[in-house]
């Protein structure tokens, strides 16, 4: 077994309104910053042991499907790296 850290990034699907991001963007603009858009994401870092990076990715994909993301409104990406 190898130690991995899997990073799951959950973001709203394109076109789904993100009021918190809009509010944050307006606050940045009030501070004088010039920006075209701002998107917020949720990122989960999961330490786990698996036979291979592929197995770790499969396991974490199931976590994302079953809990971390809501498929109605979210897309997600998974990155897996060996842990020191």
């Amino acid at each position: 077994m190898t130690a991995y850290t899997a990073t799951v990034t959950v973001r709203l699907k394109h076109g789904v309104l993100d009021p918190e991001a809009e509010t944050t963007k307006r606050s940045l603009e009030r501070l004088g910053f010039d920006l075209e858009a701002l998107r917020s994401t949720d990122r989960y870092e999961i330490d786990l042991e698996a036979e291979s990076a592929g197995d770790a990715a499969d396991e974490v994909e199931e976590m994302a499907e079953r809990l971390l993301a809501n498929p109605t409104i979210h897309d997600y990406d998974i990155d897996v790296a060996e842990r020191e």
Binding site: D18, P19, E20, R66, L67, T72, I73
Partner: protein, 226 residues
């Protein structure tokens, strides 16, 4: 035959629902989710509150608790299920109903009275009303904006599964009357069966005449039709 009001850690409208049902002479008891669904359950309420502190997403944790498997089975057998507010979020997160209730367009918690238009009067939840009736019912939520992709929403509408929409006092579906930015002013939807319904507004808070009106009584009466 008893209605089970499911209490999760962080539910806080379970007792309100119990009192409202008692006022309507509907037998009900509060059931701690870890105790499982009683065998004689004749109806199910997923009450409002902040189950599991709304961590991850509102309703996400409660929706994955083991009792929800029992509730899905009961729902498939025709036992009426009503999700209110956090219970509506749990209903959508658990797949009992489609779509998602997510962050209000205002990005704020909103606690106010709203008007709802009854979209169907041939369901257990709306048999006491006529289509087009306008109900005054309070909301209290930060994540109540109904979201679903446009194609699916069209299908839900063509299947007549929108139960309530936010409207003005005259029943008009205006942008101003939509408190949270819900798509097409949707406030409540039906599941695959008409006996499953979720809505963000709180009918149990307008059931006892002494505390603010009785417009919600008819919704709760859907639990006695089993």
């Amino acid at each position: 035959m008893t209605v089970s009001i499911i209490r999760f850690g962080g539910s806080n409208c379970d007792r309100d629902a119990g009192r409202a049902l008692a006022h309507l002479d509907i037998d009900a008891e509060i059931v701690w989710h870890e105790d499982g669904l009683p065998a004689d359950t004749s109806g199910i309420v997923l009450p409002g509150g902040f189950s599991y502190g709304d961590y991850l997403r509102a309703g996400a944790m409660a929706a994955r608790s083991p009792i929800m498997d029992e509730i899905r089975e009961a729902a498939a057998d025709g036992v009426p299920v009503l999700g209110v507010c956090n219970g509506a979020q749990v209903g959508c997160e658990s797949g009992l109903t489609e779509g998602a209730f997510t962050t209000n367009e205002s990005a704020r918690f909103q606690c106010e009275h709203v008007y709802l238009r009854v979209e169907r009067d041939d369901t257990p939840w709306t048999a006491a009303y006529d289509e087009g009736d306008v109900l005054e019912i309070p909301i209290a939520h930060g994540e109540g904006r109904y979201e679903v992709d446009d194609d699916r929403l069209e299908e839900l509408e063509s299947e007549d599964r929108v139960l309530f929409r936010y409207c003005d006092e005259d029943g008009e579906l205006t942008e101003d009357a939509n408190p949270n930015g819900s798509k097409h002013n949707v406030a409540g939807v039906l599941g695959e069966r008409d006996s499953v319904a979720v809505l963000m507004p709180h009918p149990e808070r307008v059931t006892l005449p002494d505390v603010g009106g009785t417009d919600g009584q008819g919704v709760l009466r859907g639990l006695e039709s089993a």
